[in-house]
Amino acid sequence: MKKLIGLVILTIMATQVQAAGFRVALQSAKQTGMAHVGVGMNLGPESIFFNPGALAHSDRGGISFTGSAVMSTTTYNLPGTAVTSELEDNIGTPIALYASHKFSDKLAGGLGIYTPYGNRVEWENDWAGRFISQSIDLKAFFIQPTLSYKLSDKIGIGAGLIYAAGTVELQRAVPITNEIEPDLLLETDGAASGIGYNAGIYLQASENVSLGVDYRSKIEVDAEDGTITKLNFPDAQAVNSVFTATAFNATLPLPAELAFGGAVKANDRLTIAADANLIFWNAYESLDFEFNGTVGGEMSSINPQNWEDAWTIKLGGQYAASDKIDLRAGAYLDYTPIPDATLTPITPDSDRLNFSFGGTVRPSDQFSIDAALLIVNGEERTVEQSESVYDFAQRYRVGAVVPSLGLNYGFNK
């Protein structure tokens, strides 16, 4: 068992792009089964992520773990050609872990460790877009200690402080010698961290209706003194004299998010829930690197992004088939924040219509197991070279199949 935990932690943030932009919406296997709704629901430990305001309304503390396997099926075509490409090493395994405790009837607290952002996109060697991106591996995890207070039987509030940390590794080929094999790669590596918060309000409007609002702040993660590595470069001074940089600084915004949700118990067995999330991606204006030397003769690299705020709209249902079995299903629209002009293979993206289903089995009152399957279904998207500020023609079919497994343990009241 120890060994297994070690493995899981090693791969904790190796996350494929699973939601639009570089979000990861896999914070609970239970909720993933119903379109990842949950802002307006009283969930238990997972409320640390979805809405800390609901945590105090939970009738007991517990531990909840979710592991997912993002199996990306994203494919690429260079428009006008028969050239296609797919992703290498296309499985990512994000996890989320929450533990909560009821200090009193009104006060609850907990800790969440989760991965709301991540991006791992590694294209085939020598692929058509290698001068834009060969691979990215952005790993960001949030640690969020949280307190929640039940103001009344109807209203709960909660907030948590987020410490975000992560690493990023980018590789791109350099078109300077025109050699094909091996390609010259520039590798950019850095670690970064930042601070933010997650706060929410939960309203138990009636016995059957609940509502919630949650806001997660923007976090600027600064990478300082990251390393730049030249791979497979020729010896010629003519080349190396314009690639003298060994270190870089960069800042990446992890955007704020505002989420609204509600749930209705239609009857004893059926609950319907919906969420709407607005992600403030317009914070991502440019990805700029400053170098301590030259890269292709330049002291910095300015990469305009100009992303736009984007919504996700989710609808899910949960059906209590028996005391021991819940069944869930959901669908959601996940709009891309990336305009055509700045779409890149770093984050191949399109509007998505996703479907999910899942269920829970409860062998005992304290222990339960969740399973979910999410089908990410991106609309085919084409950008011509003339439309792209990176001069890259691209057509993607974004997709992923994501099985998730959840384990939950509820403490005795």
Binding site: T81, A82, D126, A128, P175, N178, E179, P234, A236, D391
Partner: protein, 472 residues
């Protein structure tokens, strides 16, 4: 409960069925009105895939006809495109085991002292033996032969090994390698009953002259070119084949003619003065000639040699000058603005050529010679247009296309390319022929023309898949 299970099963079926695992869809490729089932390419070095001063295997494998054939294979073209491949990437030719003069191994870059890049021949010996015929593995769909002029495609003895020994040679060693005895290149093409062809010929009809500084070989007279070109198109279209012909680019835009500036020689004051002292007798002699023959005054003015601190024009032997050798005055002058010094001269200046001794006229194109070249190209291209129109064949305007590339370069999938020598990525180290990447650009231009003139939609080529210039 049963009902629920049914709904879930339906849900799973419906949503996994139409979503997610689908691959990206390619464009709808189509052949339009053209039949690409048998494609044959006829031409010169450009068609053969020649680059870096030689014909070598990967260049052949990525020749523009091979890339076109690959593209055509998506819309009914044969996936077999047979070429008279050389054994490896060393290039060069041997005849009876001995290196064939003028057919050296592939050019490559070498880093010298101080990081300066120089161009040298691959040191490995060539293993492409001319007498080692590959005709048995024919017929070949790529009938491009490096060095071929328009009339060579019609010559039945162009591959006859006996002609290699003639002065000047009447055969081409590259064609000797794969000819069927007594078969012209046109016959070799027609024998395959092509449904589609490309013909790109005419460059060498003027390039061989230009590359020799206008002092060797001759420009094919346009009237003759018209006859040859007509015969070629008559043959190729005899069985109703569709096709595209490429016209002649402005060869004077090639790096071979643009890399060396007209005033390439840097001098300091002292050196300039010393050189001027050396030419004082020549200059004084010219002054005396003018006194005898005032009509020569304008010529004498441009013949006088004068060096100064800074960049200087080289002295060269100009056979267009009035012959004054009887007066002890050699036919030399300095090059002047607007004239062209060819790439091979670049390595000679350090040895005193152009200053202490005159540069051979074979490295300089005078204004007159440049005019002849431009006039010939214009005539050829008018002939190509008119002849193609009369045979119902489309012209790929490579002349305009090359001009636009040399003006603006190309950006493709995040990489910038230009016609700049060595660093531009499109021209190989001989300064005349494209790199494999350059040939992919050529293939895409042919594809664009085929697509628009035959209502086809052939897939274009990812030019970044093909190598440019290798840096050491």
């Amino acid at each position: 409960m049963k009902k629920i299970k049914f709904y879930i099963a339906l849900f799973v079926f419906a949503f996994t069925g139409f979503s997610s695992c689908e691959d990206v869809e390619l464009d709808d490729f189509s052949n339009g009105q053209a039949d690409f089932s048998t494609y044959v390419a006829l031409g010169n070095s450009l068609t053969a895939g020649f680059g870096d001063g030689t014909l070598y295997r990967s260049g052949q494998e990525n020749s523009y006809p091979a890339l076109l054939a690959e593209s055509m294979s998506f819309v009914g073209g044969s996936s077999d495109f047979n070429q008279p491949l050389t054994p490896n990437d060393v290039g060069g030719l041997t005849l009876a085991g001995n290196p064939l003069p003028g057919f050296d191994t592939r050019l490559m870059l070498q880093e010298g002292a101080g990081g300066a890049l120089g161009i040298v021949n691959t040191p490995t010996a060539s293993s492409t033996e001319v007498t080692n015929s590959v005709a048995g593995s024919g017929p070949f769909q790529n009938l491009g032969v490096p060095g071929a002029k328009s009339f060579h495609l019609l010559g039945p003895d162009y591959g006859n090994i006996a002609g290699l020994a003639a002065m000047p040679a009447t055969a081409n060693p590259y064609y000797v390698r794969f000819t069927q005895p007594g078969q012209s290149l046109l016959d070799a093409a027609m024998a395959q009953n092509p449904t589609f062809f490309t013909l790109w010929i005419g460059n060498n009809d003027v390039l061989t002259y230009a590359a020799a500084g206008g002092d060797a070989d001759a420009i094919t007279p346009p009237a003759q070119f018209q006859n040859f070109f007509g015969a070629l198109l008559q043959g190729m279209t005899a069985n109703g084949a569709d096709g595209v012909v490429g016209n002649v680019p402005d060869i004077l835009d090639l790096p071979y003619f643009t890399v060396v500036p007209t005033n390439p020689i840097p001098l300091d004051d002292a050196t300039a003065n010393a050189l001027n002292a050396g030419y004082a007798t020549y200059n004084a002699g010219l002054d005396q000639i003018v006194m005898v023959n005032p009509l020569l005054a304008p010529e004498v003015a441009q013949r006088k040699i004068n060096f100064s601190a800074g960049q200087n024009f080289p002295v060269f032997i100009d056979d267009e000058l009035t012959d004054l050798t009887g007066f002890g005055l050699p036919s030399i002058r300095q090059a002047k603005p607007g004239e062209v010094i060819t790439l091979p001269a670049s390595s000679l200046f350090a040895g005193g050529a152009g200053t202490q001794s005159p540069l051979s006229g074979t490295f300089v194109l005078s204004i007159n010679e440049l005019d002849e070249i431009s006039t010939a190209i214009n005539s050829y291209n008018q002939i190509i247009d008119a002849t193609a129109a009369s045979f119902g064949v489309t012209v790929a305007d490579m002349n305009s296309y090359f001009s636009s590339i040399s003006n603006t370069g190309i950006t493709y999938s995040g990489a910038d390319y230009s016609t700049t020598f060595v660093t531009g990525g499109l021209f190989s180290l001989d300064g005349i022929h494209p790199t494999q990447k350059g040939y992919a650009v050529v293939a895409n231009q042919f594809i664009d023309v085929i697509n628009s003139s035959y209502g086809a939609n052939l897939p274009t080529i990812d030019i970044n898949k093909y190598p440019g210039v290798d840096l050491p």
